[in-house]
Symmetry: C2
Subunit: 253 residues, 2 copies
């Protein structure tokens, strides 16, 4: 078994980096070979634009989707994108380690999604959703850190329900075929002006042990549920007989 | 009245750029002065990291929040960030124009949020939410384009309910004090292999007229509802007496 850890944090000694290193150790102990894509250290360019495409479908007008499709068809995807896709293709498990910034991933990881999940090579209208996606059979797992405490991210918390905040990210992973495991969250990891260092250290150590335990359970963790191709009618709406797994895609009267 | 249009699309002739130009014209005709922050053309750097901070709270460890706070306190925020904040401060209305990529904003706009909405200068625990946020009294409006058709983004659509997909973005704007107006969406704007050019042109012209009409109605559009400071108890959870406006922050049994 082989795992890829995608790490998105600017500080190489960050708690996110420590969790990524711990995950690597834990997975290695479980018999995985592991590689890490450290997006900041690798200098990943998050900006999708014309610079990346050597052969163009339309030299006069840059559409990200059209050029991704053309580059996929002609084998001219940018080298860093193709390399990232190959890393995903050889992984059985992909762990995304990042801090929650403005209720989403940091820009460097957002740009990784924008560029690496390329129309054509990675998805198309006939190659998407958990049943037909390119990465079908592989697991993905989000490990996220936050500045605010856990209660703030509960269903009635002032920062919003973390399960729903992560839905767009999880749905994107399911869209390209991943079996998405429940996320692991480390709350309140930023040292505030009144944070006692020992309290913080104990908390962080607890989360490190928690992530190891979470990874140790991946064989038994139930993946999140998403609709599959047959659940949509010809207009792209949920069939009355299909299940609803989230407020994001629900039955309407 | 003064408006700022924040545009995030790599192609200068894109439909997004055309909508931004139309919005500028429409707002000018309404008596606004208007400036545009064209993030790609301006070369905005979306990566939050140590390079941007000349004076550091901690030279040995980069925390985005801690360094934003320190730079805010010492007047050493990066020039491009301070300039973006000043543009926001002089605007009565901010329009965000972007394509929906992977159920969120493009990386360049995500990084703009990551860097410009700086802890200290823009928000703090005592300076947030619509009642106490830094940009209180200003309006914000999202104008988003999609590749998939409108039905796919309905409550039972295969792409997910657009109102919920935009919640993390809208909530972030409300968090820094904006009065968030209902979004405007232009669906199915990408030229597919089977798209009839005349059909697409007619559709795009309709959306241009629609955005102008939407902007023409900003004085009467009802802002989205978000909870304010008094709605949270001392643990950061919704008081039983406070209203719930979204599944993201809801009452639990």
């Amino acid at each position: 078994m082989h795992a890829l850890i995608v790490l998105a944090h600017p500080e190489e000694k960050s708690f996110n980096a420590q969790l990524a290193a711990d995950a690597r150790e834990a997975l290695t102990a479980m018999g995985y070979t592991v590689e890490t894509a450290d997006l900041y250290r690798d200098g990943f360019d998050p900006l999708e634009d014309a610079r990346h495409f050597s052969s163009r479908a339309d030299n006069a007008f840059f559409s990200a989707m059209i050029e991704q499709r053309h580059a996929s068809d002609t084998g001219t995807l940018p080298t860093d994108v193709e390399s990232a896709i190959v890393k995903l293709e050889r992984a059985d498990l992909v762990v995304f380690q990042f801090p929650l910034w403005w209720w989403s991933v940091p820009a460097i990881l957002k740009g990784w999604f924008d560029r690496v999940f390329a129309w054509g090579r990675v998805y198309s209208s006939g190659k998407r959703y958990p049943d037909r996606g390119h990465f079908k059979g592989k697991r993905a797992l989000v490990s996220v850190t936050t500045g605010a405490p856990g209660l703030a991210f509960g269903p009635n918390g002032r920062a919003g329900d973390l399960d729903l905040i992560l839905w767009p990210i999880h749905f994107g992973l399911a869209y390209v075929g991943f079996s998405v495991l429940p996320h692991f969250a480390s709350f309140e990891v930023v040292k505030g002006p009144n944070t006692d260092p020992d309290t913080l250290r104990t908390r962080l150590d607890g989360y490190k042990a928690g992530l190891r335990a979470h990874l140790g359970a991946i064989e038994t963790l139930e993946p999140l549920k998403f609709n599959t191709t047959a659940d949509w009618d010809e207009t792209g709406r949920l069939r009355p007989t299909a299940p609803s797994y989230s407020p994001f895609i629900r039955h309407v009267a």
